[in-house]
Symmetry: C2
Subunit: 547 residues, 2 copies
């Protein structure tokens, strides 16, 4: 920290200076950047996940709604950020932060990001992005190829065609899902005779014209919340998202899906889209995509696959078969900022048919003129950064076999962790890993036996009582562990088939960080055991109930 607070002043000269790029590494800004880089490296190299500071305390540092009347020196402001922001942020790339879908980033990402931001291209149009436009189209081609594996002729024909697009880049999976369902909606309720289509005339006129009583989106009960959000935004309504039950492996029950399709057809409710999940957010499981595609085919509806998480698994030849049937989808969501190890803000939706995007085409006079190759005519967003470059570079520097190693390692690490939990006296595995996600909870073996007994006896009341105590204990451990800041697992509530479908609170882990070692996993369980011992309220009650 610098000593006394100096006083800066905005002058035309000082403003001109800050817009002139400092070239020399020994310039003031060069020195500040060097200091910052070292500090950042130190932070990222530290295994602490987060400080103990409570959010309400941190808020006190971010309380002033006044825009400063006094400029700050860059060096002073950098110190302020390191002190108040960085030190109180979450170390999402820590190898012991295994609660969410963030991970360490490859080190080459930092200089490349600086290049991307320095160039400040706007991908909405060629005029502000030039070579970035064909680059993004190539990345869409590569990702299309990853999913659909068409021949070279296909890609030569469509990759750079003005009127076509193999997909759309966007800020994340939510916008990708909205875009996919927007395309599906506009294709279903397309212009027809005098009717100009839902895009121009709206949903009210569209349903009247086509004579449907309503629309439906069918997805398993493990579907991501962004689908309900999409249905809300698109005017279809959240209640149109119909949750289909899953089997004991968290995969959609195709028999129930088919029955629901049949029932809706009788009610004159048109299925807008069947959505398969490839890597559920909570358990990482993959729906039977091939069977779902057949049902979508039978009922002539759009088949979308939300592979925001699982899409990267296609890069592994070993585990690719888990997603069999994805090549039958009309559209697929993949987040590059998840297991493709690109920074936040890189989502993609890929369309099987290069003409699909015509359903959402927009033009304007000063940009996106008809016939231009402007990417903005086929995306939900307008102005967008050149994030595609980071996907392009990662695919080249890591390469497919490199990604395969990362993905295989992650799945095998999850299997190791599942074994560890299964062998441990005090933990219960709730969902076993198909990809690198799993859920478990603290539940001594003696308590587990009791639960099994109650299940067989169908003693719902006793089952619920124990699950409630276990839930409180899990919540207590998860919160304390997060607050202690050495490691982080998340928690959620899921239905467990073997306990009569009761919803229980569980720890949830995502093992995507290549730096997460087996030793760290052992430590995390050990820490949770210690915390359980500290839980004076729940553990004694549990053990007395079990004895």
């Amino acid at each position: 920290m610098r000593a006394a607070k100096r006083t800066a002043q905005a002058t035309p000269e000082s403003l001109h200076r800050i817009f002139t790029i400092a070239e020399a590494p020994d310039s003031t800004l060069g020195v500040i950047e060097q200091e910052m880089s070292q500090n950042l490296a130190g932070f990222l190299g530290n295994h602490i996940v987060a400080t103990k500071n409570a959010l309400t305390d941190i808020e006190q540092d971010f309380i002033d709604a006044q825009i400063p009347e006094q400029p700050a020196f860059v060096s002073d402001h950098m110190d302020h950020l390191l002190d108040k922001l960085v030190a109180q942020s979450v170390h999402t790339s820590s190898p012991s932060f295994i609660g969410h879908m963030t991970s360490a980033l490859p080190s080459f990402i930092l200089p490349l990001s600086k290049l991307m931001i320095g160039l400040n291209q706007n991908l909405v149009k060629v005029e502000t992005s030039k070579a970035f436009t064909p680059l993004e189209r190539q990345v869409l081609g590569m990702m299309h190829n990853l999913v659909y594996q068409q021949d070279e002729e296909f890609y030569q024909a469509w990759m750079h065609s003005a009127k076509h697009s193999l997909g759309a880049f966007c800020s994340g999976g939510t916008v990708a899902n909205i875009t996919a369902l927007w395309v599906a909606r506009n294709k279903l309720l397309k212009p027809d005779g005098d009717f100009k289509g839902v895009s121009r005339s709206g949903l009210f006129a569209a349903l009247q014209h086509y004579g449907y009583k309503g629309l439906a989106i069918l997805v398993s009960e493990r579907g991501h919340y962004s689908l309900k959000k999409s249905a809300d935004i698109l005017g279809i309504g959240q209640e149109s998202v119909i949750a289909i039950a899953t089997d004991e492996n968290n995969k959609i029950d195709c028999k129930k899906l088919a029955e629901k399709c049949q029932q809706l057809a009788k009610e004159n409710i048109k299925v807008l889209s069947i959505v398969g999940v490839a890597g559920t957010t909570e358990t990482g499981n993959i729906d039977p995509l091939e069977q779902m595609a057949a049902i979508a085919q039978q009922y002539q509806c759009h088949f979308h696959v939300d592979a925001a998480w699982g899409g990267a698994t296609l890069l592994s030849n070993k585990y690719r078969p888990l997603l069999k049937g994805i090549e039958l989808a009309d559209s697929v969501t993949i987040d590059a900022h998840k297991q493709m190890y690109v920074p936040m803000g890189a989502g993609l939706v890929i369309f099987k048919d290069p003409e699909s995007v015509a359903a959402i085409e927009h033009h304007a006079e000063y940009i996106l003129r008809k016939g231009s190759k402007d990417l903005g005519s086929h995306t939900l967003e307008g102005s967008r950064p050149g994030m595609a470059m980071l996907v392009y570079s990662s695919l080249h520097i890591i390469s497919r076999p490199g990604y395969e190693m990362l993905i295989n390692q992650a799945i095998e690490k999850a299997e190791y962790f599942a074994d560890l939990i299964n062998q441990h006296d005090d933990f219960e595995l709730i969902t076993k890993p198909e990809l690198c996600l799993l859920t478990y909870r603290y539940a001594p073996k003696v308590v587990q036996k009791l639960l099994t007994k109650f299940s067989i006896d169908n003693d719902t009341e006793a089952l619920s009582a124990i699950n409630l105590l276990l839930g409180k204990l899990t919540k207590f451990i998860q919160k304390r562990q997060r607050e202690d800041g050495r490691s982080f697992v998340s928690r959620t509530r899921i239905e467990v088939a073997r306990y009569n479908g009761e919803k229980v609170i569980v720890f949830r882990v995502v093992l995507a960080n290549p730096l997460t070692s087996k030793a760290i996993l052992n430590d995390i369980l050990a820490e949770q055991c210690l915390l359980a011992q500290e839980s004076e309220n729940f553990l004694p009650q549990l053990l007395s109930a079990a004895s």
Copy 2:
């Protein structure tokens, strides 16, 4: 360029290495970053706007849809990027690139961006963003304060309240406008008795319940194309966006707006929102917001202001009065990546009423639990980067008076350029600058006189013939200038009141780059004169028509 192509191989060790942050500046990556930084500084310091390479040629470098089976060395890949991407990108920050809303960035942005990307926070929830959450809420508070100027008590009450939000960060103005109209739609068609609201039950049921024949969004004919896109996405339909005529200053005609409101009311079409434009994309003009607010009040409809461009002008005490009435808006869109000089990907929508966002609230089990302060429960997007940090830092380092200087300079530069055009024998100013945008075209004074004569005579045919020739000439000059790569102005087509409302092709310039000097503006006109002389087809025809 490095000489021979070396062969890299993906191994567990090489992968582990790339996920470990290199701390030392003399490490391989440190050296590569140093080289890249110098190259980037060289590129940004160069005044060339773009290379002459045609897009179809550049596409040849981005044609392979195969994901590499062979990893690339970072240094080799960096050379490849510098050669194929950077050298063929557009220099959007060049002082002679005055055709779009991009500008040079302050130099402190680069190290700060690196910090932001290195931390890789996910703002969707507190668990993956901790201090970034209150920081973003503070920035929303500061921007709310900029627009609405409430007292400290107001901000202390709402800024960090879990159930409230003063706005929503998003990737850009399009998502901001969609979010504003989504809120407006859900508030208008809210739950009522047995009806569960449009959010849950959809638009078809909502219109039936409320008995409206349709909805409408009213905006001037200069409104941004994202409003039609919003109407499409939200299920209202593009045709519901009704373009109201503008006066000779490109401002909405409030008499016509009021008449349209009255007419729609008679037809039982409910006005969902009146949208004021504060800084039209093509001409930079600002609608009479105060009068529009009164009309919105009279017809009890949402008043949104699209200040994606003009919002930053609020930072200037001198020019703030141009936006008088914005404080009466229910919602306001501002793009920080425009005249707030933040990199691409920073849009905002601000809501007057902190409870507005309840209309679009979403929850899920594992995140966004009810009562949490997770920002994701009130945004259209899900996972999002910590761009708010760059707005926060810019507001602190530049400060309001610094921004005021930048904005005042830009407007005064535009006035200077307008004078230059007016005094020039060969150019015609089409729209004079209110903010720092203006449009003009190549039209020798003798031709201008002729046009005036034809207008007075109401000789439409002759008027069109000359405008057609002038349009071709403008297009020719604009394309040639872009291709030559020393400077860039954009072009569009706008109606010109004094020529009987005929649509003419014009040059469009945005003078936001602080480094754009008067000398550069002189050079740009000189270059355009030279290009006009080269246009063998149009100029002689024009001059013969005029003689």
